[in-house]
């Protein structure tokens, strides 16, 4: 991974302590964010997000499925992440398995809520077509193409962009004769419903280095972290999920403090993403 000399490490730590990081950013400044939508035309929705040298693709595919018997009124969403060896030669073979699993689970936690589906960032009941019978299964796949830190936030942003790029075909359900029969469904080729992303949260990871914490850490900065807290926050300012990583323990009061900072940062990030996404969609329409 990242090998740094003692001098470089101290330089990075010093920069964070003095609120001037190696690339000139303040502790709570993001790298420029670049969004491109519709990169995978075969999917229902897709987006590519770049933050500095971090480059990820998220893709949404919708398939018809059957709701689980425990939650007949909810659709299903699955999130998987893969790390391509193009990003890092060490990801070759099974080299990225752990990281991929970690990212997948963290995203599920941030976006899908618990097993009951309550508190999910993605509105699962909007995916139901006929209660207990037919629903949409959303498969959200992330792919890390190039990695330079802050993968989770980038993936979160890419998923948000991909979802707002997602059109789900309108489905007509023929009234079935008896309740036991499989309902006949007719998927429209022309009519698409825009997926509602108003509830989808953004993920803000605060990485603690020394006594301070930073957003959007590069991989060099991440190598110096003592711990990191990823918080997903929606437009209403509610926390949708939270993950703490890293070995060092955190004082509970610091965590509360970090959450309030993350909430503040998330508003800016949300606005930035909104404008980038709409710019990207405008670009796509032009083509």
């Amino acid at each position: 991974m990242v090998g740094l000399s003692v001098g470089e490490k101290r330089f990075i730590q010093g920069g964070i302590a003095q609120d001037l990081r190696s690339d000139g950013r303040k502790r709570l400044t993001y790298r420029p964010i670049y969004v491109e939508t519709g990169v995978i035309p075969q999917a229902n929705g897709s987006a590519r997000v770049k933050m500095g040298a971090t480059d990820v693709i998220a893709c949404v595919k919708a398939e018809l499925g059957r709701p689980s018997p425990l939650q007949p009124d909810k659709g299903k969403v699955a999130i998987f992440v893969d790390c391509s060896p193009t990003a890092e030669p060490t990801f070759e073979g099974r080299g990225a398995e752990e990281l991929s699993a970690e990212l997948s689970v963290a995203l599920q936690r941030c976006l899908l809520g618990g097993r009951s589906g309550a508190g999910a960032g993605i509105d699962l009941s909007s995916l139901v077509i006929t209660e207990g019978k037919v629903c949409w299964d959303l498969y959200i796949d992330g792919l890390v193409v190039s990695s330079d830190g802050n993968l989770l936030d980038a993936l979160g942003a890419a998923i948000m962009a991909a979802l707002s790029n997602t059109g789900i075909p309108r489905v007509l359900v023929a009234a079935s004769a008896s309740p036991d029969e499989e309902p006949e469904v007719d998927i429209s080729d022309e009519e698409y419903l825009q997926f509602d992303t108003s509830g989808v949260p953004v993920i803000v990871t605060l990485t603690k280095v020394g006594r301070h914490y930073i957003v959007d850490a590069t991989s060099e900065e991440e190598s110096q972290m003592s711990s990191a807290v990823s918080i997903s926050i929606n437009r209403q300012g509610h926390i949708c999920g939270l993950t703490k990583r890293g070995g060092a323990g955190l004082d509970p009061s610091i965590i509360v403090d970090m959450i309030s900072v993350a909430k503040h940062v998330s508003e800016q990030l949300m606005n930035k993403l909104d404008s980038e996404i709409s710019a990207a969609e405008a670009d796509e329409d032009e083509l």
């Binding site: 893709c59 595919k61 391509s84 070759e92 099974r94 190039s146």
Partner: protein, 241 residues
């Protein structure tokens, strides 16, 4: 099923000898030594090259030539119906091998002894002809990494359906059960380096189909040369002195 209608148009509106639109972009992964995105119609592939660099596993080091390695991977979302395949299934292993052998044949490996070159190809979208697209992307990435090569290998496929030879099959045509002939050539040396076919075909028709695929390779080669030429020119212009 009718793959070529009476007017001679294919399902996606192409003529029999028409190739899908080619698009290439050099420099997609900033950290890699060389990288490229290559698109043939809806098929879209990223290739990244790392090296030549110190051999990571010392027992594989060779004192007279470079070690060339390749890994092919497919994104979960790349196929029409989404499936989650474990990494390193047989198909990917075979493809990795094919790409490696094809690229190794054109890299001047003896100029870089004791070193290692890694080629990673990642399929973003598969719509037939991934093999060819991977090879074309890898060629671009290797050229971008400044690795010396004999020639620019290019690849293209052709098939035979409804008594017609068809160039550059897409997924629907590929899975129609007809033959799929994938050819890789060294265009300036005029040599075939890769040839694969998966169905039976009379000799004379095979010749015809292979010739068509070779023509396709040449068209790809012309396109790739243009892209590289323009890229080199841009780099030199920007650098200034």
């Amino acid at each position: 099923m009718e793959f070529v209608n009476p007017e001679g148009l294919r399902l996606d509106g192409r003529r029999a000898m028409e190739m899908r639109q080619l698009r290439a972009q050099i420099g997609a992964v900033s950290k890699a030594d060389g990288s490229a995105v290559f698109e043939m119609g809806n098929t879209k592939v990223i290739a990244a090259v790392y090296g030549p660099r110190e051999v990571q596993n010392r027992s594989q080091q060779m004192s007279d030539q470079a070690l060339v390695r390749c890994e092919y991977s497919m994104a979960n979302f790349s196929t029409g119906d989404r499936m989650r395949k474990p990494k390193g299934d047989r198909r990917s292993t075979e493809l990795s091998l094919v790409i490696r052998q094809t690229m190794e044949a054109c890299i001047l490996t003896h100029l870089m002894p004791h070193s290692q070159i890694d080629i990673f190809v990642q399929v973003l979208q598969a719509d037939g002809g991934t093999r060819s697209a991977c090879i074309n992307a890898a060629t671009l990435a290797l050229a971008d990494a400044g690795i010396p090569m004999r020639d620019l290998v290019t690849s293209c496929s052709a098939g035979y359906l409804n008594n017609t030879s068809l160039l550059d099959l897409n997924y629907v045509e590929d899975s129609a059960g007809g033959p799929d002939v994938t050819v890789g050539i060294l265009p300036t040396l005029d040599k075939v380096t890769l040839l694969q076919m998966d169905a039976k075909l009379p000799m004379d028709i095979f010749e015809n189909v292979m010739q068509l695929a070779i023509e396709g390779c040449k068209a790809v080669a012309n396109y790739i040369r243009e892209v590289l030429q323009e890229n080199t020119k841009q780099l030199e212009v920007r650098r200034g002195v």
